[in-house]
C-alpha cells in the first residue's frame, strides 16, 4: 500500500514527461494548405467558420435589451465594449478585433479542421497515456480512500531524506489521513473526468498535447500539495499549481486577454504566496522543523503573537490561492482559460488549496483565536460580496466564477468559526457540483458556437437536453435544495455558526444562500428557458456536445445527488464527522478550552429534527427555495420585473447599485487606478503591474539593472586596448581597497 501511495503523484508526473517528450509526435494537425505557413488557432478559426464570425459580429450591433431581461442595457453604461470581459482584456481590445470574439471560439476549430479542402483529418492521440495514467492514479486513490475512511488507517510513507544539511532536514514523505483522503477523492475524480472531457473539448486545438502535458503536471503538483507531510512539500506543490494555473489560463497565449489574465493571476497569487513563504520561513526559524507533526506538536510552546503572525501569514497565502477578498479579482479573469481548466483548477481543486492549508494547519489556527476571527470575517465578507456581484453578471462563466469565490468564502467562514469538518464537507460537495456546473457551461459554450453571454442564449434545453438535466442537478445542489449535496454541507456551516453563537455569520450566511439560489437559477433560466435570443442563423447550429463531454457530466451528477446523503446524514453528526474528527480533535479541544462559552454549546448540542436543528434546516432550505422562486418569477413568468425592481428601488439607489454590481464593485478599477495608471500607458499597464509587483524589489531592481546593463554593455567596446585599460583600472581599485581594509 505504501508503494501505491507513492505512485499516486508519480503517475501524473510520468504522464507529463510522456506528453512533453512524445506528445507532439502523436498528434497530427494539418496546416491549412492555402496559407502554407504556421497559423495560430484563432486565425484559423476566424477565417474558416462563418457562423462564428457572424455571431461575433452580431454582438456589437444587436440591441442588447431585446428580451427585456436587462434593466440597464446600453453598453456605454457598462463601460465595456464587450459585455463579458474584464478590465484586463479591455486593455487589449485596442489591439485588434480579437477582443470582440467570444472566448471559447476555437472550440469550433475541430469542425473547421474537418472541412479544410484536401487536408487530411486531424489526428489526436496524445491524450491516451496521460489520461490512462490519471485513471490509474484515480483507481489507487479510491483504494486508499476506502482504506483510510472505512478502515480508519492513516499512512505515512517516508521515501527518503531529500535535504540533509546540518540541522536543515527535509524528507520526501507522503501523509494520508482522512483530510487528505477527502481531497484525494475530489482531486483525482474531477481530474480524471476533466481529462476525459478535454478530449472532446480540446479537439481541433493545435496545442492539444501541450494541454494534456499541463493538465498532468497540474495533477502531479496538486497531489504533491495535498499529500506532502511537511510545509516545504506543501509549498513546492503550492507554487507548482500556481505555475500550471498560469500556463493554463494563458493557454491561448496569442489572445492578449488570456495572456493578461494569466499574468494577473500570477501576480496576485505571488502577493499571497509571499506571505505564505514568510510564514513557512518563520515556522522554520522558530521551530527548526517543517514536518507537520513536529510543527503542530511544538506550536503550543510559542508565544501567542508569534503563532498569530504565522497563522495570518499562512492565511495570506490562502487568500491569494482561494481568491478571497481583496485578492479575488484574478479568478473571474482566469475564465479566459479553456473551460476544462476552469472546472478543474478554478473550481474543484487548486482554489481549494487555501481551504486545505487552513484545515491542515488547524492546530496553528486553534492557538491563534485572533487569526480565526480574521479568517471568519474575510470569509463572511467575501461570501456576500462575491454573491452580490454574481447577481448581475451576464457571462455564464463569470457567474460561476463569482459563485466559486463566494462558496470558497463560505468554507473559510466555516473554518474561522471552528466548523472544520463542515468546511471540508462543503469543499468536497462543492468540488463535485461546481466541477459539474463548469463542465456543463463549457458544453453550453461549445454547443452554442463559442457564445458565453447569457443574453444571447435561451431555450437551450431543447437542443442540449443532457447538459440541461445535469446542470439542473448541479444548480439544485448549489442552490441548497434538500437532498442534493450542497444542501447538507452548506447547512452544516450555517448550523454550526448558529450553535456556536455567531449569529451575525449565521444571518449573513442565510442571505448568501438566498442570493446563491437566485443567481444560480437566473443563470439556468436565462440559458435554458425562455426563447432563444441569439442571432437566428445560429440556432440551427446549436447542438448537444459529444459523448466524451456529456459522459463526465453524467458521472459527476451521481455524487452531486448522493454525497450529501451518504456523508451528511444525520445533519451535523453525519459520517463525515466521524471520519474527520480525528484530524481536528486537538484543535477542537483547544478551542473548547479557549472559548468556554462554546464548549457548553458543543457538548450539549445534538441534532434534533423537531428542535433547533430542524428549524435551522428548514430556514436553510427556505432560503434556497425562495431564491429559486424569485428567479423564476423575474426571469420566466414576469421578464420585466428586475428592471422595475431596480427602477423602483427606494431613494433611487437602484441603478447605481446595479451598475456597481455589474462592474464588480469597481475593485478591478481601483486596482487599475492604484497600481497601473501611474503615468503609464494603459496598454502597458499590466506589463508594468507585473514588473512592479512580482517579487517587488527584484523587478524594481530589474528596471535599474536594465539601465545598468546597457551601461555595462557599452563598456564592452570590443577593443582590446580598452579592455586592457579597464583591467588595469580594476587592478588599481583592488589595490586601493586592499590598502584600505588591511590593518
Amino acid at each position: 500500500m505504501e508503494l501505491l501511495i507513492a505512485l499516486i503523484p508519480a503517475l501524473p508526473l510520468a504522464g507529463f514527461i510522456f506528453a512533453v517528450l512524445v506528445g507532439p509526435r502523436l498528434d497530427h494537425v494539418p496546416l491549412h494548405g492555402q496559407h502554407g505557413g504556421d497559423h495560430s488557432e484563432p486565425e484559423d478559426g476566424y477565417a474558416s467558420d462563418g457562423a462564428h464570425a457572424a455571431s461575433a459580429a452580431n454582438h456589437s450591433s444587436a440591441e442588447i435589451d431585446d428580451s427585456g431581461l436587462l434593466p440597464i442595457p446600453s453598453e456605454e453604461d457598462q463601460g465595456h465594449t464587450s459585455p463579458h470581459r474584464g478590465h484586463a482584456d479591455e486593455l487589449s481590445n485596442a489591439a485588434g478585433a480579437e477582443g470582440v470574439i467570444p472566448v471559447d471560439l476555437r472550440d469550433g476549430l475541430g469542425e473547421a479542421g474537418h472541412v479544410t479542402p484536401g487536408g487530411p483529418r486531424p489526428l489526436y492521440r496524445s491524450w491516451m497515456v496521460p489520461t490512462g495514467l490519471v485513471g490509474l492514479a484515480w483507481l489507487i486513490s479510491m483504494a486508499v480512500f476506502v482504506s483510510v475512511i472505512f478502515g480508519g488507517q492513516t499512512y505515512h510513507v517516508r521515501l527518503y531524506e531529500w535535504i540533509a544539511s546540518g540541522t536543515f532536514r527535509i524528507e520526501i514523505a507522503f501523509f494520508v489521513d482522512a483530510l487528505t483522503a477527502m481531497l484525494l477523492l475530489v482531486v483525482t475524480t474531477v481530474g480524471l473526468l476533466v481529462h476525459v472531457y478535454s478530449i472532446g473539448y480540446m479537439d481541433g486545438d493545435r496545442g492539444f498535447w501541450r494541454f494534456f502535458a499541463y493538465l498532468n503536471l497540474f495533477m502531479f503538483s496538486m497531489l504533491l500539495l495535498i499529500m506532502g507531510d511537511n510545509f516545504l512539500m506543501l509549498y513546492v506543490g503550492w507554487e507548482a499549481v500556481g505555475l500550471c494555473s498560469y500556463a493554463l489560463i494563458g493557454f491561448w497565449y496569442k489572445k492578449p486577454s488570456a495572456a493578461g489574465a494569466a499574468k494577473k493571476a500570477f501576480v496576485l497569487n505571488r502577493v499571497g504566496d509571499f506571505g505564505f513563504g514568510l510564514g513557512v520561513m518563520m515556522i522554520w526559524t522558530l521551530l527548526g522543523t517543517l514536518s507537520f507533526d513536529q510543527v503542530f506538536a511544538g506550536i503550543g510552546a510559542l508565544p501567542g503573537w508569534q503563532v498569530t503572525t504565522i497563522a495570518l501569514l499562512l492565511f495570506a497565502g490562502a487568500v491569494g490561492k482561494s481568491a478571497q477578498f481583496p485578492l479575488h479579482v484574478w479568478l473571474p479573469d482566469a475564465m479566459e482559460g479553456p473551460t476544462p481548466v476552469s472546472a478543474l483548477i478554478h473550481a474543484a481543486t487548486m482554489v481549494n488549496a487555501g481551504v486545505y492549508l487552513v484545515a491542515r494547519a488547524n492546530p496553528i489556527f486553534a492557538h491563534a483565536p485572533a487569526a480565526m476571527w480574521v479568517v471568519a470575517l474575510i470569509g463572511t465578507f467575501t461570501a456576500i460580496f462575491a454573491a452580490a456581484i454574481a447577481l448581475t453578471q451576464n457571462d455564464i462563466k463569470k457567474v460561476l466564477a463569482y459563485s466559486t469565490v463566494s462558496q470558497l468564502a463560505y468554507m473559510f467562514m466555516g473554518l474561522g468559526i471552528g466548523a472544520w469538518a463542515a468546511a471540508i464537507f462543503h469543499l468536497v460537495s462543492h468540488g463535485f457540483f461546481k466541477g459539474l456546473l463548469f463542465m456543463g457551461s463549457g458544453s453550453v459554450i461549445h454547443g452554442a458556437g463559442g457564445e458565453q453571454d447569457m443574453r444571447f442564449m435561451g431555450n437551450l434545453r431543447r437542443k442540449m437536453p443532457w447538459t440541461y438535466r445535469t446542470m439542473l442537478i448541479g444548480s439544485l445542489a448549489l442552490a441548497g435544495v434538500p437532498i442534493f449535496a450542497g444542501f447538507f454541507s452548506k447547512d452544516e456551516i450555517l448550523g454550526e455558526a448558529f450553535n456556536r453563537g455567531y449569529l451575525i455569520f449565521f444571518i449573513v450566511g442565510l442571505i448568501v444562500a438566498f442570493m446563491t439560489a437566485f443567481y444560480t437559477f437566473r443563470m439556468m433560466f436565462m440559458t435554458f428557458w425562455g426563447s432563444y435570443r441569439g442571432p437566428k442563423p445560429q440556432w440551427k447550429h446549436i447542438h448537444e456536445s459529444a459523448g466524451t463531454m456529456v459522459a463526465p457530466l453524467l458521472v459527476l451528477a451521481v455524487p452531486t445527488v448522493l454525497i450529501g446523503l451518504l456523508f451528511g446524514i444525520p445533519p451535523e453528526g453525519g459520517a463525515i464527522h466521524t471520519w474527520l474528527n480525528p484530524v481536528f480533535e486537538a484543535a477542537e479541544k483547544l478551542r473548547a478550552g479557549i472559548l468556554p462559552g462554546s464548549a457548553a454549546a458543543q457538548e450539549g448540542h445534538g441534532f434534533a429534527l423537531f428542535g433547533t436543528g430542524g428549524v435551522l434546516l428548514l430556514l436553510g432550505a427556505l432560503a434556497g427555495v425562495l431564491g429559486i422562486a424569485l428567479a423564476y418569477r423575474w426571469y420566466v413568468t414576469r421578464p420585466l420585473s428586475p428592471r422595475r425592481f431596480v427602477e423602483r428601488f427606494p431613494l433611487g439607489l437602484g441603478p447605481g447599485m446595479y451598475r456597481a454590481s455589474l462592474n464588480k464593485y469597481y475593485v478591478d478599477d481601483i486596482y487599475q487606478l492604484v497600481f497601473a495608471r501611474g503615468g503609464v500607458l494603459v496598454g502597458s499597464a499590466l506589463w508594468w503591474f507585473d514588473a512592479k509587483v512580482i517579487d517587488g524589489a527584484v523587478n524594481g531592481a530589474g528596471w535599474v539593472s536594465q539601465r545598468l546593463g546597457g551601461l555595462l554593455r557599452r563598456s564592452q567596446t570590443g577593443r582590446v586596448e580598452n579592455y586592457g585599460l579597464e583591467m588595469a583600472a580594476g587592478l588599481i581599485v583592488v589595490l586601493i581597497v586592499l590598502i584600505a581594509v588591511v590593518r
Binding site: 504556421d38 540533509a164 527584484v698 545598468l708 546593463g709 554593455r713 579592455y723 583591467m727 587592478l731 589595490l735
Partner: protein
C-alpha cells in the same frame, strides 16, 4: 626523491597524456570518413582516466618533493575534469563536421587543456600552479580561435590570448612578490610564514596581483571583458567547454591560493573577494538580461554563476570556525560541478540549433522548439530551470549550499544579494522556456542537429541534473570528503 608511489598517484594525468599521443597518432592514420571513431576513442580514454581517479581516491599525500599535492580535493576536481572532457567530446563533433573543422586536432587540444586543469588541481607549489594554468589556457586560446576561417572566432581567440597573457603576467608578478616576501613557493609553507609575518605594503601588492590574476581567469567583473567576445566567437560547443573547463581549473587555482597559501590571512582578502563577488553576480546578470542572443546570454550568465561561487569563497574567508570554512569549500565544489554539467549542456543545445552555419543562436531560433523537437526542448527546459535554481534540480541545491555557507559565515546580506540575483536570472532563463513552449516556430526555423553523440551527451547531463537534484546525498558525501582533505 621520486618514488614509484609518486608516479602511481598521478595515474590519471599519465593516462590523459597517453591518450593525447594515441589520439594524435590515430588521427594521422584514420581515413577521412572514419574520423568519427576519434570520439568514442577519446571518450573511452577519458573514462579510463576517470576510473584511475577512483583508483587513487583517498591517497592524500604530497608527491614530487611537495610540488604536487594529490588529495581528495584534487581527485574530485580531476574527476569533474574528465566529465567535462567527455561531454565536450560528445557535443563537439557534429558542430565541427558541419563547418568542416578537423576533429582530431580538436580532441588533442581539448585533452591538452584537460591535462592542464588536472595539474592545476594538484598544484602544491605556486610554480606548479602557474605551469598548470598555462597548460590549461594555451590550448583554450587555440580552441577559441578554432574556426580559422571565421572572423569572429579569430577575433575572440586573439582577444582571449592577449588579455589572458596580460593576466598571466599579473599573476606571475604576484607570485614573485609572494616569493620575495616568504622565500618559498611551496603553498603549505607560504601559509605558515605569512601567518607569523606582519602586514606590509609588499604583502598588499602580492595579494592584489594574485587576486587580479586569478579572478581574471574565472572572468570576474571587472576582469570579464574577454568572456563575451571569446565565447561568442568560439564554436558553440567549444564555448560551452571554455565556460566550464578553464573555469573549473581557475577555481582550483583560487582554492589553492586563497584557501591554501593565503588561508591564514583570510581576514585581509575577504573584503575584496566579497566586493568582487557582488560585482560579478550583479554585473553578469544585468547584462545577461539585455541579451537577445541565447549564446551571449549564456556567456554573461556564466559570469553571474562565477559570482555565486566567489560568494562561497568569500564565505570561506569570513567563516568564524573551521567547520564553516569547510562548508564553504563544500559549497564551492558542489556548485562548480553542478554548474559545469548544466552550462556545457545548455551551450550544446544552442549548438544543435546551429546546424546551418549561418545561425547564431538567437532567441527566435528557440521559438516553438517544443513541437519541433520535444526531447531537446524538454532537456533545455530542465537545464534552464536548473541554472535558475528551481527545485528539484541540482542547480537548486548548488545555490542552496552556497546560501547556507554564506549565512553560516555571517554574511547574511550576501545571501540576500544572491537570492535577489537568482530571481533576476529567472527572468532571462525562463524567457527561453516561454519561447520554446509558447511561441510558434517562425517561418524559417533553424534546422536541428540530431547526431547520436550529441543526444547521448545531452541525455547524460540532463539525467545527472535531475538525479542529483532528487538524490543530492550521493554527491554530497564525495564533496564532503574532498573538502575535508584540505584541512
Amino acid at each position: 626523491m621520486t618514488e614509484l608511489r609518486d608516479v602511481y598517484s598521478i595515474l590519471p594525468e599519465l593516462l590523459l597524456g597517453a591518450l593525447i599521443l594515441v589520439v594524435i597518432t590515430t588521427d594521422l592514420f584514420l581515413p577521412r570518413r572514419s574520423k568519427w571513431l576519434l570520439t568514442p576513442l577519446t571518450v573511452f580514454g577519458l573514462l579510463l582516466a576517470g576510473a584511475a581517479c577512483i583508483a587513487v581516491w583517498g591517497t592524500n599525500r604530497s608527491a614530487f618533493a611537495g610540488f604536487y599535492r594529490v588529495d581528495d580535493l584534487s581527485i574530485f576536481l580531476k574527476g569533474a575534469t574528465m566529465l567535462i572532457g567527455i561531454l565536450s567530446a560528445l557535443f563537439a563533433p557534429a558542430y565541427l563536421r558541419q563547418r568542416r573543422l578537423p576533429l582530431g586536432e580538436f580532441n588533442a587540444i581539448l585533452l591538452f587543456s584537460l591535462l592542464g586543469i588536472c595539474v592545476l588541481a594538484s598544484g602544491g607549489d605556486l610554480i606548479t600552479l602557474f605551469l598548470g594554468l598555462e597548460l590549461m589556457v594555451m590550448p583554450s586560446y587555440l580552441l577559441a580561435g578554432f574556426h580559422k576561417t571565421d572572423r569572429y572566432s579569430n577575433e575572440g581567440g586573439l582577444k582571449y590570448f592577449l588579455l589572458g597573457s596580460f593576466a598571466s603576467a599579473i599573476l606571475l608578478f604576484g607570485i614573485s612578490w609572494t616569493y620575495g616576501l616568504t622565500g618559498t613557493t611551496q603553498i603549505a609553507q607560504i601559509g605558515a610564514r605569512l601567518a607569523g609575518h606582519g602586514i606590509s605594503p609588499a604583502l598588499v601588492v602580492a595579494i592584489g596581483f594574485l587576486t587580479v590574476g586569478a579572478t581574471f581567469k574565472i572572468a570576474a567583473v571587472p576582469f570579464h571583458y574577454w568572456t563575451p567576445d571569446a565565447y561568442q566567437g568560439a564554436p558553440t560547443p567549444i564555448a560551452g567547454f571554455l565556460s566550464v573547463g578553464p573555469k573549473l581549473g581557475a577555481f582550483a587555482l583560487l582554492i589553492r591560493v586563497f584557501a591554501g597559501a593565503l588561508g591564514p590571512i583570510h581576514a585581509d582578502w575577504v573584503t575584496v573577494m566579497v566586493i568582487l563577488s557582488v560585482l560579478t553576480m550583479v554585473g553578469g546578470n544585468v547584462v545577461a538580461l539585455t541579451q537577445s542572443n541565447v549564446k551571449r546570454m549564456l556567456a554573461y550568465s556564466s559570469i553571474a554563476h562565477t559570482g555565486y561561487i566567489m560568494a562561497a569563497l568569500a564565505a570561506y574567508g569570513n567563516a568564524p570556525a573551521a567547520r564553516a570554512q569547510q562548508q564553504a569549500i563544500e559549497a564551492m565544489l558542489f556548485y562548480v560541478l553542478a554548474y559545469a554539467m548544466m552550462n556545457i549542456a545548455a551551450f550544446a543545445v544552442v549548438g544543435m540549433l546551429q546546424r546551418e552555419p549561418g545561425r547564431f543562436g538567437g532567441l527566435a531560433s528557440f521559438a516553438g522548439l517544443a513541437s519541433r523537437s520535444p526531447g531537446r526542448a524538454a532537456a533545455m527546459a530542465v537545464l534552464l530551470l536548473s541554472l535558475t535554481g528551481i527545485p528539484p534540480t541540482v542547480g537548486f541545491f548548488a545555490k542552496w549550499y552556497v546560501l547556507l555557507a554564506t549565512v553560516d559565515a555571517g554574511l547574511s546580506w550576501l545571501a540576500v544579494v544572491i537570492v535577489l540575483n537568482a530571481a533576476l536570472a529567472a527572468f532571462y532563463y525562463l524567457r527561453v522556456i516561454v519561447y520554446m513552449y509558447m511561441r510558434e516556430p517562425d517561418g524559417n526555423p533553424a534546422p536541428i542537429d540530431h547526431s547520436l553523440f550529441g543526444a547521448v551527451g545531452l541525455g547524460l547531463s540532463v539525467l545527472a541534473v535531475v538525479l542529483l537534484g532528487v538524490f543530492p546525498g550521493v554527491i554530497l558525501d564525495v564533496v564532503r570528503i574532498s573538502a575535508a582533505s584540505l584541512f
